[in-house]
């Protein structure tokens, strides 16, 4: 989706500003949003790609005006309603008006450490050989799917070189839409910065992780 989250190369946001005392959270609600988001993610009702899709489908003007944890909260609310775990009336009022959805795997306190240590590796066994190898010239596809993808707009339809092959990984474009993991070969593609930006750049090269369906022979 060509949403407001796809920020690479946009101009006009001003300088990168650091905060003098950089607290991890600005307010208590931010740490609560982080924790609730992680806890609900651990129930397995949805996956990380669905979470990202929920956040980036916020209308652009809303996405850009929200702080980061606010975006997380909006994404979480959307997923709760979409998956039937709660109704909008419930999330607004905080009162339980419908029975809990069955089969939700609650993350208990004594399971947190193990769950975080395990994480969610995305490497899968490859079922087909890789189409490309290190050193191959490739071109990214020109594509504009209305659903989740991890190929940023600034590097679509561009020439690059494969610099790493990472094995077959869960494919976000299908994983986000409920069509399953459909693992695809994952590569790191190096683009000369001038291929992406012309002369208007101070970068030498930009490296982007690209799944095989994002690529074609040049």
């Amino acid at each position: 989706m060509n949403g407001a989250h796809d920020l690479g190369g946009m101009q006009g946001f001003g300088p990168v500003t650091q905060e003098p005392n950089e607290a991890r959270f600005h307010d208590d609600w931010e740490r609560r949003v982080l924790a609730v988001t992680l806890a609900m993610g651990a129930t397995g009702t949805w996956n990380l790609d669905m979470t990202r899709a929920a956040r980036e489908s916020l209308p652009p003007q809303r996405y850009l005006s929200c702080t980061y944890y606010r975006i997380w909260l909006e994404g979480l609310l959307k997923l709760l309603v979409k998956t039937g775990l709660a109704t909008p009336e419930e999330t607004d009022s905080g009162r339980m008006l419908a029975p809990a959805a069955p089969g939700v795997r609650t993350l208990m306190a004594d399971q947190v450490a193990a769950a975080l240590a395990k994480g969610s590796p995305t490497l899968r066994k490859a079922t087909v050989p890789a189409q490309f190898e290190v050193g191959d010239a490739v071109r990214t596809r020109q594509m504009n799917p209305p659903t989740h993808t991890r190929l940023p707009r600034y590097c679509r339809g561009r020439h690059g070189t494969i610099v790493a092959v990472h094995g077959a990984h869960v494919f976000p474009d299908t994983h986000a839409t409920g069509q399953g993991e459909q693992p695809r070969w994952l590569y790191t593609v190096r683009f000369d910065a001038t291929e992406l930006w012309g002369a208007d750049t101070t970068a030498s090269a930009v490296c982007v992780d690209c799944w095989e369906p994002y690529l074609e022979a040049p």
């Binding site: 190369g9 101009q11 950089e22 609560r32 990202r52 909260l73 306190a109 395990k118 994480g119 994952l186």
Partner: protein
């Protein structure tokens, strides 16, 4: 380096911009949601406390600093880290969520690496903790891929004109850790002492490691 110009922007883009009801509104909204999820049995409130405690106190850039210091001090470890960062980092006890697949990028006098996630906020949690606000902000996400030299300057650093700037956009589940250049004058230092030179920003590529002269006196 000067941070003076940062002060006027320090609250930019935060709910602090809207004094008054916004903060309490958000507190209330999140508490409301939390109590609903607890009542429904989806969330164990004690698990929330453990999650917060983990990322607020246990996981942070001190982990990554240990990895970098070891790679500076131990050439066999450095080789392992560059070949299989996931295993080399896990050997120090750092693994798991948002660090499942690690790649280490070693800065050299010729090449400087900088890491960004233009699409969201992908960041190697086990070694660096939660990302700082600026890493998730529109200015950084938009500019790092097109003007990394300008970004580095805003952090107070400049590199020689001929330095190759290579930017890594974390679009998949591969997480990148920059190994900064080892500062001069640190021969024979222990890993513990070297780790004090390694800043968080130097492991993102928006900074350089401290020189020995920059170490606070009490720990030098």
């Amino acid at each position: 380096m000067s941070h003076d110009h940062h002060h006027e922007h320090e609250v930019e883009g935060h709910d602090h911009d809207h004094p008054g009801s916004e903060l309490s509104d958000m507190d209330l909204r999140v508490r409301t949601l939390e109590s609903l999820l607890v009542e429904k049995g989806y969330v164990d409130p004690k698990a929330l406390d453990v999650l917060i405690e983990t990322y607020e106190t246990r996981v942070g850039p001190h982990n990554g600093a240990r990895v970098v210091a070891k790679s500076w001090a131990d050439s066999a470890y450095r080789k392992w880290l560059l070949e299989d960062a996931t295993a080399a980092i896990a050997s120090l006890g750092f693994a798991g969520r948002q660090g499942e697949h690690m790649v280490a990028l070693e800065n050299t006098p010729q090449t400087h690496h900088m890491v960004v996630c233009t699409l969201c906020s992908c960041y190697p949690w086990p070694v660096l903790g939660l990302p700082p606000v600026w890493y998730k902000s529109a200015p950084y996400r938009s500019r790092a891929v097109i003007d990394p030299r300008g970004v580095l300057k805003e952090f107070g650093f400049e590199l020689p004109a001929g330095t190759e700037f290579r930017v890594w956009d974390s679009t998949a589940e591969i997480r990148y850790l920059v190994v900064p250049l080892r500062p001069a004058g640190t021969d024979g230092w222990s890993e513990e002492r070297l780790a004090r030179l390694v800043t968080r920003d130097s492991m993102i590529g928006t900074g350089l490691a401290r020189s020995p002269a920059e170490l606070p006196e009490e720990v030098a």
